[in-house]
């Protein structure tokens, strides 16, 4: 009940905020803060009370309620380590986006917070759903309010950006819906039970070709959300045109729903097909890393630049997911959280700058450190975070992903590592163009206020904490990650046997040891590296 309560709470507060907006501009903000704070408290409570690191009993809490019994559709929510992390991130970034839009949004404040809370409710739904119909439902519920956020409160080119965002995600989402229906019908014909229940649909028997096609439907929806090249073109526009809170939610949370979908649904539902698809996915991941980095380097618009950094970082996620081993997968989870925080922070900085000097053009900035030292120093922290500086969360994530995927595919990983070099170049370019160098124009500009400092300091604490104590996050996610790896590894062994004669024994050994490495073993290793 508490899980359904979370979503009802957010939606209820959303409606209240809209109504309150008719009388007062501050009331909606307070209502939203209140709603999201309760969500955060509940998440912290679950985090602290559940048995950490227990492998038995996958779900910490589940909630089931029948919805449309005629079709086997239920309201089924479940939370495990992975969803717990994601929900925590949702509540955390949600809270910050209300705070960061405190002064930025001046018109139609009530409706703004209505949309904001509904996006968060949809995202929470996506991270908790254990019924595929409900999952798709929540998946779509995220879209419309996000569309409104971009198209009402966005920047100059908002209409175009919001269309593009909506059509890309809606179109790919419908393909996933077809796949869900296909899976539902196949399971129904096989067993006579027509259900959308995730746990019952696991292990549905079907033809390999059918499985591959159904998987593609899911994968397309998820990699469009993950903005993998060649489906990334909606992202720079949407992120650039959205208001700051919108960019934070887009980059911090919406992109993660794609990664979450791949881990939660694609790998366990289609293990065999995922193995067939893995080489393609890994190549796409590497291409995204490099192409995203290259484009990030070429941007003159600060928000666009940060958007392309996301493309590049999401490439690491795709690479890690399809490496099919625990280390890479843990890295992916780490990356999801760390990227949410670091990119969220960069967007907040870009948003604040834009609010003050009315431009995002890098050519007009420069030498701002002297005037706004606080912003400069904090900017430096998050720029370092996104280039993968040791001691910060992103480093742990990228290290684990590269280490894990090296076991699966050496050549691609070596190429992907070049992305780290590129990252250094584009990230330092931000510092150079904005804060150092010659002053292009004489701006009259205020530094961070106390409210903004509060937001940024929280983010700094989060990113440093994750860099120094990664195991706090990793132990929470470990049971879920192991479960996913296990479901893929079963089939992996089978395909391996079939391919045995084609592979050299050496490669064989490396991969097998990689897959069966005990968790704590490399965990300590990575700490040493810190």
């Amino acid at each position: 009940m508490i899980l359904a309560g979370l979503i009802i709470l957010l939606m209820g507060c959303g409606v209240l905020a809209w109504l309150a907006g008719r009388w007062n501009n501050t009331l909606p903000r307070i209502i939203s803060l209140f709603g999201i704070s309760i969500q955060l408290l509940v998440v912290v409570w679950i985090w602290l009370t559940h048995q950490q690191g227990s492998v038995t009993g996958q779900w910490i809490i589940t909630y089931t309620h029948s919805w449309i019994p005629a079709f086997g559709i239920q309201i089924k929510f479940g939370i495990d380590g992975l969803s717990l992390l994601m929900i925590a991130l949702t509540a955390f970034l949600g809270l910050l986006s209300v705070l960061t839009s405190w002064k930025e949004i001046k018109h139609r404040v009530g409706f703004f917070h209505f949309n904001l809370l509904f996006v968060l409710a949809g995202i929470t739904g996506v991270f908790l759903s254990l019924d595929l119909f409900l999952f798709y439902f929540s998946w779509e519920v995220m879209l419309i309010p996000m569309y409104f956020l971009i198209s009402i409160w966005g920047n100059e080119n908002r209409t175009y950006a919001s269309y593009k965002f909506f059509l890309f995600t809606q179109g790919s989402g419908l393909l996933m819906f077809l796949s869900i229906l296909g899976l539902y019908l196949i399971h129904g014909h096989n067993t006579g039970i027509f259900t959308f229940d995730y746990e019952q649909l696991l292990g549905t028997v079907m033809q390999p070709q059918t499985a591959f096609l159904l998987m593609l439907g899911f994968v397309i929806a998820f990699i469009v959300k993950l903005s993998t090249v060649p489906f990334h073109s909606w992202l720079p526009d949407a992120h650039t045109q959205a208001p700051t809170a919108g960019s934070v939610i887009l980059a911090g949370l919406l992109l993660k729903t794609g990664a979450y979908g791949l881990i939660r649904f694609v790998l366990p539902l289609f293990p065999q097909a995922s193995h067939q698809f893995a080489p393609v996915a890994m190549v796409l991941g590497v291409v995204s890393i490099l192409y995203g980095a290259k484009l990030a380097f070429a941007q003159t618009d600060l928000k666009r630049l940060i958007a392309y950094i996301s493309v590049s970082h999401m490439g690491f996620i795709l690479l890690g997911i399809y490496a099919f081993n625990e280390m890479a997968m843990q890295g992916v989870v780490m990356q999801m959280v760390a990227h949410g925080i670091s990119t969220g922070a960069l967007f907040i900085i870009a948003g604040t700058l834009h609010e003050r000097i009315q431009t995002r053009d890098l050519g007009q900035m420069g030498g701002l450190w002297a005037k706004i030292p606080k912003m400069g120093a904090l900017g430096l922290v998050f720029v370092m975070a996104s280039l993968g500086f040791p001691g910060l969360g992103n480093f742990v994530a990228e290290f684990l992903i590269l280490n894990g995927s090296f076991m699966a595919n050496q050549k691609l990983t070596i190429i992907a590592t070049l992305g780290l070099v590129a990252a250094t170049i584009y990230a330092l370019r931000i510092m150079q163009k904005v804060f150092y160098g010659k002053e292009q124009k004489t701006w009259v500009i205020a530094d961070f206020s106390i409210r903004e400092m509060g937001i940024m300091i929280t983010l700094v604490i989060a990113v440093v904490w994750m860099g120094l104590f990664p195991s706090a996050v990793l132990t929470v996610s470990r049971p879920s990650v192991l479960k996913v790896i296990e479901s893929v590894a079963d089939r992996k062994a089978q395909t391996r046997e079939a391919q045995l004669h084609r592979q050299t024994t050496l490669e064989q050994k490396i991969t097998m040891t990689g897959a069966s490495l005990p968790g704590h073993h490399w965990n300590t290793n990575s700490k040493k590296a810190n």
Binding site: W67, I68, P69, A70, F71, R108, F133, Y136, F137, E140, V141, L143, I144, Y147, F148, S151, I152, T159, S162, Y163, F166, L167, Q170, G171, L174, L175, F177, L178, L181, G182, Y184, L185
Partner: protein
């Protein structure tokens, strides 16, 4: 005809008797409000009568009519739609119609509804044809009722010519089938159709083909859709809503019954024709809607596309397909009524609010109304939280359950195209201050109209969240 037969036809008897009564009332006293109230009471009484019969055994009256749950469900649906339309009509007549003769409108409206609701219980070519003609002839007059308006007469004439032609096709098709089989009742046709082969078979299929043309006209399916946008634009919005809901709903019910009872699903050629029609309607409807700047024309094309979607379930065949089609037409009627309702209650004394300029910034001027319109548009687009999504889900499940992957793909692809023009209308409504002063200001919505729309809106949202009861109800229909 026994007493039980007449009793089972009670809703229709009430409606037909009510029409005569209304005529007498008009002769006694010309009062718009009085006649409107009388019409509402008659329609409500008919709905109640139909509701009372819903759980009784099917009543077969000759070979001509069968009163069963399926038929009664559709009757209730059509009558309820007429109820809503008459409320919108009252608003529209009061505001836009300067002439004195407002009262006959309701007679025609009820007569058309009578035709449509007789059609859904017909099981014979005769009853089918008579009821479709009752419907069509009343519609000619309704469409050109506002004769002072620019395009009303044009629209009426266009509908007259094309509907008469489609009736001719229908009749010719029936005649061919009768020539081969000597049968006209659906029941007898089922037994007969299996025994033919060779040239007789060709005649049967040709007859069915001609009937498809006739039915295609009535449902405005591509390529028989040319009349729809002009008629929707020329007629007043309540009448357009009537054409889009009551008139099409009756034909859909008849189509489902006709195909199920005679089992025309056996004929590959016939189903192939329907597949092509469905594909064309979905694609052409949505693509042509992209070009529209007039809301009523846009809704016309959108309704073409929606009937195309519905055919996906129809093609899927008996059982699930029929249920999905029935569910979808219910949702579709709710939603399109809401959309036309918005156009109606925003009308001014000299013009209807059919250009997109009227909708600029509506969200900030009339938030409630704009939110309702957004809800209806999202439901037409099939977005979750609205009933339209559940409807589309039902269609896709029925289609895929029957292995219609091509149709399902096209349905999905064309609804993405469709999304674009619904979104464009929503964007118009949320355009900011500086823009919307340039737009035209629409009329002031009346309280009653707003209340009706809110009821429709709550239904659309409610069915989107908990559609269980309607699904269960639809599944109990044979």
């Amino acid at each position: 005809m026994s007493a039980a037969d007449i009793l089972s036809l009670l809703p229709m008897v009430i409606l037909a008797g009510g029409i005569l009564l209304t005529l007498i009332l008009i002769a006694l006293r010309r009062s718009h409000l009085l006649i409107f109230t009388a019409a509402e009471i008659i329609i409500l009484a008919a709905i109640v009568a139909a509701l009372l019969h819903l759980n009784q055994e099917p009543q077969i009256i000759g070979d001509i009519i069968v009163v069963d749950r399926f038929g009664l469900y559709y009757q209730i649906l059509l009558l309820s739609a007429t109820l809503v339309i008459s409320i919108f009509s009252y608003i529209s007549l009061e505001r836009l119609f300067s002439d004195k003769r407002k009262e006959e409108y309701y007679v025609l409206l009820m007569l058309a509804t009578l035709g449509s609701s007789m059609m859904v219980i017909s099981t014979h070519f005769i009853s089918f044809f008579v009821s479709i003609e009752v419907l069509t002839i009343s519609l000619y007059t309704l469409i050109s009722y506002y004769r002072e308006r620019d395009k009303a007469i044009e629209a009426g004439l266009k509908y007259l010519v094309l509907a008469a032609m489609s009736s001719a096709f229908l009749l010719f098709g029936m005649a061919l089938i009768y020539a081969v089989s000597g049968q006209m009742s659906f029941h007898a046709l089922f037994a007969v159709a299996t025994n033919y082969s060779g040239s007789s078979n060709v005649m049967l299929i040709a007859g069915a083909g001609l009937m498809i043309v006739g039915i295609g006209f009535k449902l405005a399916l591509v390529p028989f859709h040319m009349w729809a946008p002009d008629v929707y634009e020329g007629a007043s919005s309540p009448v357009s809503a009537f054409v889009a809901t009551v008139s099409k709903g009756g034909v859909v019910a008849l189509l489902l019954r006709f195909f199920t009872m005679t089992d025309l699903y056996r004929y590959q050629n016939v189903m192939l024709a329907f597949t092509v029609i469905a594909l064309l309607s979905m694609l052409a409807g949505n693509l042509l809607a992209l070009q529209q700047r007039n809301v009523k024309r846009l809704l016309a094309y959108s309704s073409i596309a929606h009937l195309g979607y519905l055919l996906v379930a129809f093609i899927a065949g008996k059982g699930m397909g029929v249920q999905a089609a029935t569910f979808y037409i219910t949702i579709y009627m709710l939603t399109i009524l809401g959309a036309f309702g918005v156009v109606t209650i925003l009308s001014k004394t000299d013009s209807e609010a059919d250009g997109t300029e009227y909708y600029k910034g509506l969200f900030w001027r009339r938030p409630l109304l704009a939110a309702l319109f957004t809800l209806f548009l999202l439901s037409l687009a099939g977005i979750p939280l609205t009933a339209g999504f559940i409807g589309k889900y039902f269609l896709l499940t029925a289609g895929l359950g029957n292995g219609q992957w091509l149709l399902a793909f096209v349905l999905v692809a064309s609804s993405v195209i469709g999304l674009f023009y619904y979104l464009r209308l929503i964007v118009t409504m949320i355009s900011q201050d500086e823009d919307y002063q340039k737009g035209l200001s629409p009329g002031i919505p009346s309280k009653g109209g707003l209340l009706t729309l809110m009821v429709l809106g709550i239904l659309v949202l409610g069915l989107g969240l908990s559609p269980g009861w309607l699904i269960d109800l639809v599944r109990t229909l044979p």
